[in-house]
């Protein structure tokens, strides 16, 4: 039981740190580059340059195996890599596409389309969104869906509706859960195809281009069917990316603690220290989840991390607003707004909007834990899940 890194590991960490210092020139006030590629405005110039540098270095899809064009890193190296990025405020190269879509593609049959999709994801040149939820089926994990595919000679025709599609307004592709012959399958739907209608779904504080997507006899080629949905199909696959949440939040907390309004106020300092302790606890659980061998223990830890991470994220957002005073009032919701001339507080805009949008965290806790698309659970549902574990055997993990 120890925390020390081997020499090789330490050399790796140093190289990552150097790489970030050399290549990340962006505005580090955005939260860890979360979902950068699905923002309504798209990537900033700095983000584009950063992702290009990652592609060149072969680090653009840190969780992928070598066979698929990834670096083939151990879980530890994936973790160390992302932790450094989080600590230095650089966007993490993880997304719906790299974590969820790629995993579906990995297990599918080889095809020209598959190769192209993976290549585009690897180079951060395509944007994917997830089509899970349907109107009226919102919060039911594992509920069925009415979106249906019918076979034609050359492929399929899909009809139905998906909602709460994060980034749906700007994405190129949607990984869509549809019923084929009564069984759920994954399909890759081009959002540029005829029959696709996008409806904006304005969400409090969000700039993530949320959409309701109508599919009306949309044609999908044969290769577009990516195989059967395994299990409930809406639990995102396990990714190391979810284990650096504390790092991302700690960075934001450090910035907040440096604020003069906090430094002058013992109550704010105490609140920050309280959150700091919570983040230490989350970090410790992340370490445990990273190094744990047992799948059951990992699952329990991940559920706890989803709950505590969501709660901590909201707490941080509240603290940020608390620190702002009147600055909090004066910014409009739902549109970009130049800060110039208004107090000169560059944090004000993201703070309020993020605190509002942060309310989603406890609704879609698992979702955010994976920093990927839809398909999360409310903290209440996660507590129900844990109750089955806690009351089932009464055993602790480890």
């Amino acid at each position: 039981m120890n925390l020390s890194l081997s020499t090789a590991d330490q050399v790796f960490v140093d190289s990552v740190r150097q790489f970030v210092a050399d290549h990340w020139r962006g505005d580090t006030t955005l939260p860890g580059g979360l979902l950068a590629e699905l923002r309504a405005e798209g990537m900033t110039v700095a983000e584009r340059q950063w992702f290009d540098a990652l592609v060149q270095a072969g680090w653009s899809v840190p969780t992928w195996p070598v066979a698929e064009g990834g670096p083939g890193w151990s879980r530890l190296w994936q973790f160390l890599f992302m932790r450094e990025l989080a600590a230095m405020g650089a966007p993490l190269p993880v997304s719906v596409a790299t974590e969820v879509v790629a995993n579906v593609l990995f297990s599918g049959a080889p095809s020209a389309a598959r190769t192209q999709w993976l290549s585009d994801i690897r180079s951060w040149r395509s944007r994917w969104c997830l089509g899970f939820a349907e109107p009226d089926l919102l919060a039911d994990r594992g509920a069925g869906q009415s979106t249906t595919a019918v076979r034609t000679g050359s492929g399929y025709v899909v009809t139905g509706q998906k909602t709460w599609v994060t980034g749906g307004l700007v994405a190129d592709w949607m990984l869509c859960r549809v019923a084929l012959d009564g069984q759920p399958v994954w399909m890759a739907v081009s959002l540029r195809e005829a029959g696709v209608t996008l409806h904006a779904l304005p969400v409090m504080g969000s700039s993530l281009a949320m959409a309701r997507v109508e599919l009306n006899e949309v044609r999908i080629p044969l290769e577009g069917c990516l195989g059967a949905v395994e299990g409930s199909g809406i639990t995102p696959p396990v990714s190391v990316a979810s284990l650096v949440r504390s790092g991302v939040l700690r960075r934001d907390l450090l910035r907040l603690e440096a604020d003069s309004a906090v430094q002058e106020d013992p109550a704010m300092q105490r609140a920050c220290a309280e959150l700091g302790v919570v983040l230490s606890g989350i970090e410790a659980m992340e370490f445990r989840a990273l190094t744990s061998e047992a799948t059951a223990e990992q699952g329990t830890l991940r559920t706890m991390l989803a709950i505590r991470g969501a709660e901590a994220g909201q707490k941080l957002g509240e603290l940020r607003v608390r620190s702002m005073g009147y600055h909090a009032v004066s910014f409009p919701d739902g549109e970009r707004f130049s800060n110039e001339g208004l107090f000169g507080d560059e944090l004000a805009l993201p703070a309020v909007r993020r605190a509002l949008f942060d309310r989603a965290w406890t609704m879609y806790a698992a979702h955010h834990a994976e920093s990927s698309g839809s398909g999360g659970s409310s903290v209440e549902a996660l507590r129900d899940e844990l109750a089955r574990i806690v009351l089932g055997s009464g055993d602790s993990v480890q």
Binding site: P202, V203, M268, S330, P332, G334, A355
Partner: protein, 376 residues
């Protein structure tokens, strides 16, 4: 000791409630918000006709002569409707400053225009560096032969865009945070040297950043005694707290009731989610937070009506702390229990949540008023 409403008060409450429920629907409100100037002139006229703009003002200027309890009843209903008309800015803040601090001449000059709905006003008191300290002023008023010359920057002036005149706090003497040396002035919004930058607020009101550059005003623009404006300003802000706090109580009522209704219809795992005990207890807690806030609202209003002093200040701070904490709890859980629907612009829930969030910050947040409560 009596917690029941007089007949007059019950009538006032009923008439505002009826207006809000029948005429000020959420759809109507959203339409108003998207127009310029961000509120409805017709609605304002209705307010004037119904006498609501006259409630706090003395009969000597054509007012209703109402008390804090009357204002509380009125604003609570405005809160239920998320009314965006600038009642607080014009009637409570700017109007309040003149009512409490103005000479008979000043009252006669400025209040009738507010009461008949022909004039809008705003209170320009906050400054970027000052957080919630009303005495922290960099804006200066220098006396000259004809009156005063104002220079400075006032932040987040609610109703700034529509205001015909402003009540401005400025320093006539003393150091940056001294209570002595604060003075209040009535300033024509069109006066030379007044420049504005307008914007909508998070909760869909309108506000301005206002720069004052060598604004020249007469001696008759001074409200109260020179340098003694702090006490007046504090009382006005405390009346403002009672007003927006009452709004928040109205907001919370809608938030918890709508949540109860939603959980009765929304099904999951084959039953309404309102059947789940965890959500039931959550809603009980929302209900209790609303009731506690309402109870402290009554106390604050009655203490204000007993006479403005430390007991009233303490009751106001207790109310503001409760409203901040309860508003956060009720708002967050209303959104949480609505799931994704609570996040959309389409449903009213998110808009109520924004309003209670901003009300926590206005006139001093929980941190500020806990300290004030503890020091009184």
């Amino acid at each position: 000791m009596d917690f029941s409403f007089s007949e007059e008060q019950a009538l006032l409450k009923d008439s505002v409630e009826k207006f809000v429920l029948n005429d000020y629907t959420f759809a109507a409100r959203q339409k108003i918000v998207r127009t310029e100037p961000g509120f409805s002139a017709a609605t304002w006229k209705t307010f004037a006709e119904l006498g609501w703009l006259s409630v706090p003002f003395p009969e000597s200027v054509g007012g209703f002569g109402g008390k804090s309890v009357d204002m509380m009843l009125l604003l609570e209903q405005f809160g239920r409707g998320l009314v965006v008309e600038p009642f607080v800015a014009t009637v409570v803040l700017a109007g309040g400053a003149i009512r409490l601090g103005g000479t008979t001449e000043q009252q006669n000059a400025w209040l009738p225009g507010i009461i008949d709905g022909s004039r809008q006003a705003a209170l320009a008191y906050a400054e970027p560096q000052g957080r919630f300290n009303l005495a922290d002023l960099v804006t200066t008023a220098k006396a000259d032969a004809n009156g005063y010359v104002l220079n400075g920057y006032k932040a987040v002036v609610l109703n700034g865009p529509a205001a015909d005149f402003l009540v401005v706090s400025a320093r006539t003497a003393g150091g940056q945070r001294d209570r002595d040396g604060v003075s209040l002035f009535i300033v024509d919004a069109k006066a030379a040297g007044v420049s504005r930058r307008d914007y909508p607020t998070v909760d869909a009101f309108r506000a301005s950043e206002i720069t004052l550059t060598n604004v020249r005003i007469g001696k008759d623009a001074l409200l109260g005694a020179e340098g003694q404006g702090y006490a007046l300003l504090e009382q006005v802000i405390d009346e403002g707290i009672l007003a927006i706090g009452s709004e928040a109580v109205g907001c919370m009522e809608v938030l918890y009731k709508n949540t109860v209704e939603y959980t009765k219809t929304r099904e999951q795992f084959g039953q309404p989610i309102g059947k789940f005990q965890v959500l039931q207890h959550r809603m009980v807690d929302m209900f209790m937070e609303h009731e506690q806030s309402k109870s402290l609202m009554y106390m604050a209003a009655m203490k204000m009506d007993e006479g403005y002093g430390d007991a009233a200040r303490k009751a106001i701070s207790a109310f503001k702390v409760q409203v901040g904490n309860s508003g956060r709890f009720v708002g967050q859980n209303a959104v949480q229990l609505h799931g994704g629907m609570g996040m959309t612009d389409e449903l009213s829930i998110g808009h109520y949540f924004k309003r209670v969030t901003i009300i926590d910050t206005l006139f001093g947040n929980v941190d500020y008023h806990l300290k004030r409560f503890g020091s009184l």
